[in-house]
Subunit: 307 residues, 2 copies
């Protein structure tokens, strides 16, 4: 019996993982700060508690459930703040307590969300195996440190640890302040969409693919860092054009209106080697398909609800 | 007013830091798991709580005291176990909570005990600045990860962080299972003293000097890792000879009776550059003086107490 606890289950990535986990035969237990059933995914059992504050209740829950698997996605992710927020420290500490409690029950296999922010952005392509590196932000150092200590701990207590390193994601339910929602909602309202120069090269992955890759990683025995990427690179401008051409809004894009930081890397992409060769996973959605679904979703959100 | 909280204050290093802190003009608050006054150092105020378990009380204490300084020495250090003990994870997590709570009050300056175990032992001399490295043990990875995340956090919240990297220490109150106590007590009892081959090159520092260097570091504004070392190197055999010649016990040393691990580095020493040039500190005790004091102390311990 595969029984998984999902943290961050109502978040952008977490909410999309629930159905794929059910489909892979997991009994799914989801954490949420709110009580009740925040999302109506059939078969998911919800547990309302605050991972950072309700530490006693978290330990009791883990002791009761004796989950075989843990998918740990929860973190402080407020756009514009999470890079430097002191809260990062609490998330490292809370994540360590969570994993320690998980290992103390029947826990065997866990996957934790890493980030492309945990590596040195000076490298042209982030290899899966790149570990000892110099992140630029407190968020990056926090994720890196968490990985280093968990990897040593996991090998000591015979826990199997996969580290799903997330890059650039888009899709339904993304925070409205981020690139794709920002441009899509502006154009849907026929308003100007301020953008940066758009020449940044990134690996964009549709959130349904991100969720599917993470659950495939969880379901495997692959250990250590695995880049969760499409293996395709696009410029920010290509993504914006894709949205604009669907919504006939090219004339509303204000290139260069948003300044870029000199710290921001020109290229930030990751190799998809382990995902392809060891997990035998590849994306189901092209950029065009993903953007089309995302734009439709935002279109629905902006439509006045029928009475 | 300089007010310091000392964790691990009853431990091998911590207990020797209390008087030097008083002498440097600190109001000294010491944590101890036991209630009462575990050590009778004049001027020290004791607070009985468990750093890992009494988290609410720790936060209240920090809020009450509003310490300007923190000297964080507490860790799981049971000989033979601490290298690989799963408890290391709890100490990383507990240390993060402690520092976060300290920063949330009036905290300005902290020094945390690092270790020569947090760096790659393949290098011949550990430089102060060596950071991104490959430790060999869970203990080493735990200390390294703690440093990485705390350094990023400290610079974000304007906290001044010194990292005192401890090497090989000896002196009164050392755990009896360790090298110097082991040899000294065997020879004092006229028993054979099993030793390894003795050719390992190390930097040994008398614990009074370790404590003095740590308090000098705390009292400075020097940030980042600082090796707490003598800058002199000795072989294990030289240390053993020093004890044996004081106790006329050369004939009782059993060289080669204790196997060494193939993992154990031949040489593990650190440069003393920052300690000398930035903190203007040098040891007060030679190896001969330190060993003489240590042997006398063990002699007293083994004497039958007067009625």
């Amino acid at each position: 019996m595969k029984r998984v606890l999902v943290t961050g289950a109502t978040g952008f990535v977490g909410r999309h993982c629930l159905l794929p986990l059910i489909e892979r035969g997991y009994e799914v237990h989801a954490l949420s700060r709110a009580a009740g059933r925040p999302l109506s995914v059939p078969g998911v059992q919800w547990h309302g508690l605050d991972l950072l504050r309700d530490t006693g209740r978290l330990e009791s829950l883990l002791a009761d459930l004796r989950c075989s698997h843990l998918l740990h996605l929860a973190w402080f992710t407020e756009p514009g703040k999470y890079w430097t927020a002191p809260e990062n420290l609490q998330w490292v500490s809370g994540s360590l307590r969570l994993v320690d409690a998980f290992a103390g029950t029947e826990g065997r296999r866990l996957v934790v969300a890493g980030s492309c922010a945990e590596v040195d952005w000076a490298s042209s392509v982030v290899s899966d195996g790149m570990v000892l590196s110099c992140p630029r932000t407190l968020y990056g150092w926090s994720k890196l440190s968490l990985y280093l200590v968990l990897a040593a701990y996991a090998s000591r207590v015979s826990l199997s640890l996969g580290w799903g390193r997330l890059f650039f994601m888009y899709g339904p339910h993304e925070h409205p302040a981020r690139l794709v929602p920002n441009v899509a909602t502006a154009l849907l309202k026929k308003s100007p969409a301020p953008c940066s120069h758009g020449r940044q090269v990134r690996d964009f992955l549709f959130v349904h693919d991100v969720a599917d890759a993470l659950t495939a990683l969880l379901d495997s025995t692959v250990e250590g860092p695995v880049n969760i990427v499409s293996g395709q690179t696009h410029t920010v401008a290509q993504v914006v054009h894709q949205i604009a051409s669907l919504l006939r809004g090219e004339h509303l894009i204000r290139w260069g209106a948003v300044p870029t930081s000199p710290d921001e890397p020109v290229q930030l992409v990751g190799e998809a080697r382990r995902l392809r060769e060891e997990i035998h996973w590849s994306p189901r959605f092209s950029l065009a398909e993903g953007i089309a679904q995302t734009v439709s979703w935002w279109q629905e959100q902006l439509q006045p609800k029928a009475a």
